[in-house]
């Protein structure tokens, strides 16, 4: 029998070039490949699992998020919720980003223990599966695909989160005197070949919030904004921001506020 040769026009290959072999051309080539992959982003696999989790009755209280969790647009409503967070939630008396809000619903509505979720909130390199919370975040984010970021910055509490996040981004400390802005405060900067978005600009902030949740082809893992903030502080030589804390929400509010009015393309795909 004749085996077909029609196979793959686009295989997700995980690659690692020696640093010295990377050039600007390689960057441009990779960008083309990445754009092509947006059409078949493996993030969709995590969306599917997230949707199942959203609708399933789970946790000690045996309720689904679909029947209990209000992301700001009404109980169970996910369409357009992602691009309108962070926002203020009166029931929690806090401004929350999307991931933090889902965690809140899981603890308050479903009865999960926060410590259990926070124990391993991110997919490790080469872990076969992403944590439930990552799948849920990916599902909720995907339900805002092709909608404009519309964080309610006119709300004083959201504004406070935004301004505090802005001040946090400028805060220098630690052995290397770094702040977020050391790398992300000006246009056209790179660490090695990695382009660094200027998070104070609308374009740069959009890159920040567009990227996460995102599928990272290296290692084949799905990662969220909460993870991105966490790993940035590692590289900043800081201690660790607590998972789903106000500190992380503030930074996400700062970026989302700067990205307001621009189109969200749905979960990202990254090198």
């Amino acid at each position: 029998m004749k085996r077909s040769i029609v196979m793959a026009t686009a295989l997700t290959v995980t690659w690692s070039l020696p640093a010295a072999a990377q050039t600007k051309d390689a960057n441009a080539e990779f960008e083309k490949f990445r754009a092509e992959m947006e059409e078949s982003n493996p993030a969709e696999l995590f969306e599917l699992k997230g949707e199942e989790l959203w609708k399933a009755k789970r946790g000690p209280k045996n309720v689904s998020l679909a029947e209990s969790c209000d992301l700001g647009q009404g109980i169970g409503k996910v369409e357009g919720a992602w691009v309108k967070m962070p926002r203020y939630f009166a029931d929690a008396d806090a401004v929350m980003d999307g991931e933090r809000r889902i965690v809140w619903c899981m603890t308050e509505k479903q009865g999960f223990k926060f410590a259990d979720i926070a124990k391993k909130p991110f997919q490790g390199a080469n872990d076969n599966n992403a944590p439930d919370i990552t799948n849920l975040v990916t599902y909720v984010a995907s339900a805002s695909k092709n909608m404009k970021f519309d964080m309610p910055l006119h709300d004083d509490k959201v504004r406070d989160a935004y301004e505090t996040g802005k001040a946090m981004a400028a805060y220098r400390a630690g052995p290397y005197d770094f702040s977020c802005n050391t790398c992300h405060g000006a246009d056209g900067k790179r660490i090695r070949m990695q382009n660094l978005p200027n998070l104070s600009s609308p374009e740069g902030a959009l890159r920040g919030v567009q990227g996460w949740p995102g599928y990272r082809m290296t290692g084949g893992v799905m990662l969220t904004s909460q993870w991105r903030m966490n790993d940035c502080f590692r590289q900043q030589r800081f201690p660790e921001p607590k998972y789903a804390s106000q500190a992380v929400t503030n930074l996400i509010a700062y970026m989302t506020g700067n990205a307001n009015g621009q189109m969200y393309k749905g979960p990202g795909i990254k090198r």
Partner: protein
Amino acid sequence: MADPMKIRAQMKGDVAEIRILMSHAMETGQRKDAAGNTVPAHFIQSITIDVGGKRVVDGQTGTAISRNPVFGFKMKGAKAGDKVVVNWVDNKGDKRTDEATVA
């Protein structure tokens, strides 16, 4: 039980564009875990794709393909409404079949 695939099949003119996302670890058998033990090879080794009742792909795959692989191709001779059936089997005998309809 393997996770579902995501299949997208769409007519663009007289050409059908088919893209399939598969959820699979695709372990090469070369990698070591944190404890230094080799992670056993675990990969999809055969894939079949039927469109409108006709087998269009019958292929073998190996460990050179990444985790969560994406397969995309274009074909002539399909029409809207045709059923797309994708089937894979891995080296541990785990398998998965999913369907979609050409739009």
